[in-house]
Amino acid sequence: MLLNRIIPCLDVRDGRVVKGVRFEGLRDVGDPAELAAGYAADGADEIVLLDVTATIESRSAMLDTVAAVRRAIDVPFTVGGGIRTIEDAAAALTAGADRVAVNSAAVRRPELLTELADRFGTQCVVIAIDAARREPGRWEVAIGAGREWTGIDAVTWAQEATECGAGEVLLTSHDRDGTGAGYDLDLVSAVSSQVRTPVIASGGARVAADLESAFVAGASAALLAGVLHDRLTTIRDLRRALSALGRELRPC
């Protein structure tokens, strides 16, 4: 059976890892390759890197960062942020990503997911969804790094995106991002029950019980950023606590 995964996320701007709250107030927290190597050595099951500037000028520098992280880690590596075309995806994969995450561009043109899946395989394509709770049981999709609201229902979009070719859903709660209030478990459960692909819970994790709750709610993987960067906890401590809670993780 597939084992649940713990995934540190590196939000990268101008070659540095940054972190904010609800996508705002970004502050510098370190070097991407150094942080990634530390997390991988500590037992991270995968690394996600999101380019949070994603301007044309930053693109080639970002590929250098991707290559540096690739050299530093021996676990799977997903890269997202600003991937709009097959060529963007190919460049990220060539630089060392194992998978690419697509967000705004897929909302604007869902066929992009099919084109990426046809070219690289569904296992290579992650749909990243930023969602905010609007009323009980309804979440709205945001694009453009959380600045543009689309009116699209997040659960419906997750279904459509996976049917178009995405092999995994990276599901971020816009409300919980950077707050440490725990994952939006209703969102995790609503999406996990409606798609057949793995779902990565994201936004709000602080302690091991948050991760365990996300796994129980149906997530295959749990993503964290701020609490690790700020050393409020470590992957090693989270793994130990999850094992104590009876969760089987990969031996490492």
């Binding site: 597939l2 050299r71 799977p76 590596f77 569904t122 296992q123 295959s220």
Partner: protein
């Protein structure tokens, strides 16, 4: 007499992400060169056949580059070869993913769609059980966890190959080995320390074989 570093070649069909394999070899202190010609497959001390994507496309690329016979010959001789993911599947006689398309046929058996499960593709970490005692394995000697990204796999142990297994709603073949040939359904290059150790064992075999045959 001088002992040269082994010549390890990775087959570049234009379909695969080579950076993960190159990085993993780099961390072991071994350089690899990219090749896509038949001669290098015959001459290299070690050959890596990577692969992601569709079975039919993978075979089409190998055929177009004239690599089918050189790879088959190398594997039949048991020379150091590492096949990864789709690369492993291409060794079989065929695949449910591409009915009517013949594989390299150096491994008896057919690649099957994984049994249905709530979550597909089979994406992430899964446990791998070491190969049994017969035939005796030289690489797949310990249990561990490996990183997978597949929807298909061999569902039976091919005769003559030491076989390691995984399970996800039913058993499937995680890796096989014979002579100096190792084929992994998972990605050893991104399977943590366990994967690096497995790669290291194969690299060490390339070194030994290249030193003894020349």
């Amino acid at each position: 007499m001088t002992i040269d570093l082994p010549d390890i070649a990775i087959i570049d069909t234009g379909l695969s992400n080579l950076a993960s394999v190159e990085s993993a070899c780099g961390r072991l202190g071994v350089g690899v060169r990219r090749i896509s010609d038949p001669e290098s497959i015959a001459t290299a001390d070690g050959v890596v056949l990577p692969g992601v994507g569709h079975f039919a496309e993978g075979m089409a690329r190998l055929s177009a580059l004239g690599l089918v016979e050189p790879i088959r010959f190398r594997i039949q001789l048991g020379r150091p070869t590492l096949a990864i993911c789709l690369g492993m599947q291409l060794l079989a006689q065929g695949s449910d993913e591409a009915p009517g398309i013949a594989g390299l046929g150096v491994v008896a058996g057919r690649v099957r769609r994984l049994p249905p499960a709530r979550i597909r593709p089979h994406l992430g970490w899964n446990l791998v059980t070491a190969a049994g005692p017969e035939p005796r394995p030289r690489f797949l000697v310990d249990d561990g966890a490996a990183s997978f990204a597949n929807g298909f796999a061999l569902d039976a142990a091919p005769t003559g190959w030491a076989t390691a297994w995984s399970d996800d709603h039913g058993p499937f073949v995680a890796a096989i080995e014979r002579g100096a040939v190792l084929a992994c359904q998972f990605h050893p290059e991104i399977s943590g320390r366990w994967g690096a150790t497995l790669l290291g064992r194969w690299m060490s075999c390339v070194l030994t074989e290249s030193a003894t045959c020349c």
